[in-house]
Amino acid sequence: MRILLAEDDPDLSRQLKQALADADYAVDHAPDGEEAHFLGDTEPYDAVILDLGLPKIDGVSVLERWRRDGKVTPVLILTARGAWSEKVAGFDAGADDYLTKPFHTEELLARLRALLRRSAGHAAATLSCGGVRLDPRAARASVNGEPLRLTSLEYRLLHYLMMHQGRVIGRTELVEHLYDQDFDRDSNTIEVFVGRLRKKIGPDRIETVRGLGYRLIALEGEAAGS
């Protein structure tokens, strides 16, 4: 496993390099944002440990550039800033996990292992419907290449609609597949989630068939998917 460690503090870098090497990872070190971006752009890493407070280019910008260029390498963010607004911004930029300094090396290694496990087998068959793509193994979805930020309930709804795209699915059926327990099945639950999903993937992609239910469709001019 090849890891890119982007961290500017020499002591912390030395420690982490040692700990990662002890755990049998091959580690490249980038002391600033410019080099981190260059390495991440050119070398095939399995995961990146990215400090947000990097000199030259800050971590969030580096991450945003990678994601814009279509890089899907899992990224674990290290930061001294633990406010929720900063965490949310990190995940917005495309981070896969987040660790606040100071941390235990053990925790970093555990999170890194989980990250690598989740991203294994990334090349699984993806579902697509027009510009919407969904990768069931990584539990990720995108619209026209832009990654979607979905909660698990929204993701589950989209997954079910994509599995049955083109077919009208009734509300009861959707509720049953959205919630595993008999719970919260009030009448407008589905409307709420369909509304949120429409906001995220585009309003015309989910069609309301009056009295029957909903149908996921490809937009005109888009090739219908698998």
């Binding site: 503090d9 002591d11 912390l12 420690q15 982490l16 040692q18 700990a19 407070g53 001294a80 800033r81 633990g82 406010a83 929720w84 607004s85 965490k87 949310v88 995940f91 917005d92 981070a95 896969d96 996990d97 987040y98 300094k101 100071p102 941390f103 235990h104 090396t105 053990e106 989980a114 989740r118 539990a139 930020r149 979905l150 909660t151 698990s152 309930l153 919260d184 709420v192 949120r196």
Partner: protein, 462 residues
């Protein structure tokens, strides 16, 4: 009005009062001058008449063989009726130095015209030989008198010709004129002061408007002073805006400084923690423990500083729905190892009257607890509670807290200032933030089986 009142810092009062004092002075001077002029005019007319009479006497008087003065027959009939108001007299200076009437008008009857005691000397010394004076005439009526010294042919001693006219009509006229003038001037004064009052109120209107705007900025209803002001006030409004901007900049800079300091400490702490873990030794547990304490302290004071530096007021508006969406997505990502499922509901038009990062901090910490201690199910429901308030209910399906534990958490929340940093649930920072926004926290059992935290917060108007 007393002096302290004048010194009181009311511009309107000062302006009106100054105008009133000034108007009063000008009007009094005007009134006095007017009356004096009127009197002068009337007296001059009377004096001219008296001069005519005296000149007539002088011109037509003759002296007989005994040296007696013979008065001419004057045609004015008024001088023949007793006490008619028009009098004349021809007098000579007696051996006793006093005037003795030689001839007098019929109107004088038996009385004589009198003059001031130094009349003879004045006549003797005066160059014009004419003296006008006010005196009491016959029948106790005030008269205007002219005395004129003249020398008649055939008589060596000079003769005094005197003419007098009743002044009482003039005095009455004068009084009436003074009263009328005073009335008109009082009316004018009231009008002037009223005018000044209106002018001040209207003229100072932009000042009152500016005060209202500044108050709005202070209470947070407005970001800056916005209105267009008269050219005298515009620079003040601009300076105020610059001051507000400077103030915000300073607060922001302090916030950044505190943040930078705290964050700069964290990387060395990480190094210490890792190093202590890697080299097990007698110092290792101590260093680990102390480094963790330091981390908690840094976090605690960082948050306190952020809370203290928060700008007062309700300038910010943060829609709740996107915040819940972002937190749900982020937390599910953070806890994806535990397969946490966050089910959240919020009306789209629910708006929190505060900063976005504060709302993120409040809900994020509580939701993180729910994810951490729950068993995979977290439910968040935000809704309008009652007018102007919203409630955010966060429940989980974890083991929950006993009533005693709930009380403990809340008690710790109440004594925030003494509370140790880094309480296990991280609720102290939530409680602090919620209180800063005039809200409250409530704990209870959730219908999901675990703990339910209800956050009560103000809601912004739509």
């Amino acid at each position: 009005m007393k002096w302290p009142a004048l010194r009181s810092p009311s511009l309107a009062k000062r302006l009106v009062l100054l105008a009133a004092v000034w108007s009063l002075a000008v009007l009094v001077v005007t009134g006095v001058a007017q009356t004096a002029l009127f009197y002068q005019e009337a007296i001059t007319r009377i004096d001219d008449d008296l001069a005519d009479v005296a000149d007539g006497l002088y011109a037509d008087s003759t002296v007989d063989d005994q040296g007696q003065v013979d008065a001419p027959p004057l045609t004015d009939s008024r001088a023949t009726r007793p006490f008619s108001g028009n009098y004349w007299e021809i007098a000579e200076i007696g051996p006793d130095g006093k005037l003795h009437a030689q001839a007098r008008s019929r109107s004088l009857w038996d009385s004589e015209l009198s003059g001031p005691s130094d009349l003879i000397q004045t006549l003797a010394a005066g160059s014009s030989k004419r003296v006008y004076f006010n005196a009491m005439g016959p029948a106790k009526a005030p008269v205007r008198t002219l005395a004129m010294e003249g020398v008649l042919p055939g008589r060596s001693e000079p003769v005094i010709f005197m003419a007098a006219e009743d002044r009482s009509a003039l005095e009455a006229d004068l009084r009436r004129f003074a009263e009328e003038t005073a009335a008109v001037l009082v009316l004018l004064g009231v009008g002037l002061v009223t005018g000044v009052f209106v002018q001040v109120r209207v003229g100072l209107q932009p000042l009152f408007a500016l005060r209202r705007e500044v108050a709005a900025v202070r209470t947070g209803q407005a970001e800056r002073v916005s209105g267009a002001y008269p050219s005298e006030l515009q620079p003040l409004a601009e300076e105020l805006n610059a001051l507000v901007a400077h103030d915000q900049e300073v607060v922001e800079r302090q916030r950044t400084h505190v943040g930078n300091l705290a964050h700069a400490l964290k990387t060395p702490l990480s190094v210490m923690l890792s190093e202590a873990e890697r080299h097990a030794g007698p110092l290792s547990p101590l260093v680990t423990h102390q480094a963790q304490l330091m981390r908690d302290q840094v976090d605690h004071h960082l948050r306190r500083a952020r809370a203290a530096a928060r700008t007062q007021g309700l300038r910010e508006r943060t829609p709740v729905e996107p915040v819940l969406d972002e937190l749900a997505v982020t937390l599910e990502r953070i806890f994806q190892g535990q397969a946490v499922e966050i089910d959240w509901r919020a009306p789209e038009d629910l708006v929190f009257p505060g900063e976005r990062q504060d709302l993120l901090e409040i809900i994020g910490n509580v939701m993180e607890n729910a994810c951490k201690y729950g068993q995979g199910r977290v439910r968040v429901i935000a809704k309008t509670d009652r007018p102007g308030r919203m409630s955010i209910t966060i429940g989980d399906n974890g083991p929950g807290l006993t009533a005693a534990e709930q009380g403990e958490v809340l008690k710790r929340g109440e004594r925030l200032d003494e509370s140790a940093p880094g309480s296990g649930l991280g609720l102290s920072i939530v409680d602090e933030l919620v209180r800063a926004y005039g809200g409250s926290l409530r704990l209870g059992p959730s219908s999901l089986g675990g703990l339910e935290v209800v956050i009560d917060l103000p809601q912004a108007d739509n």
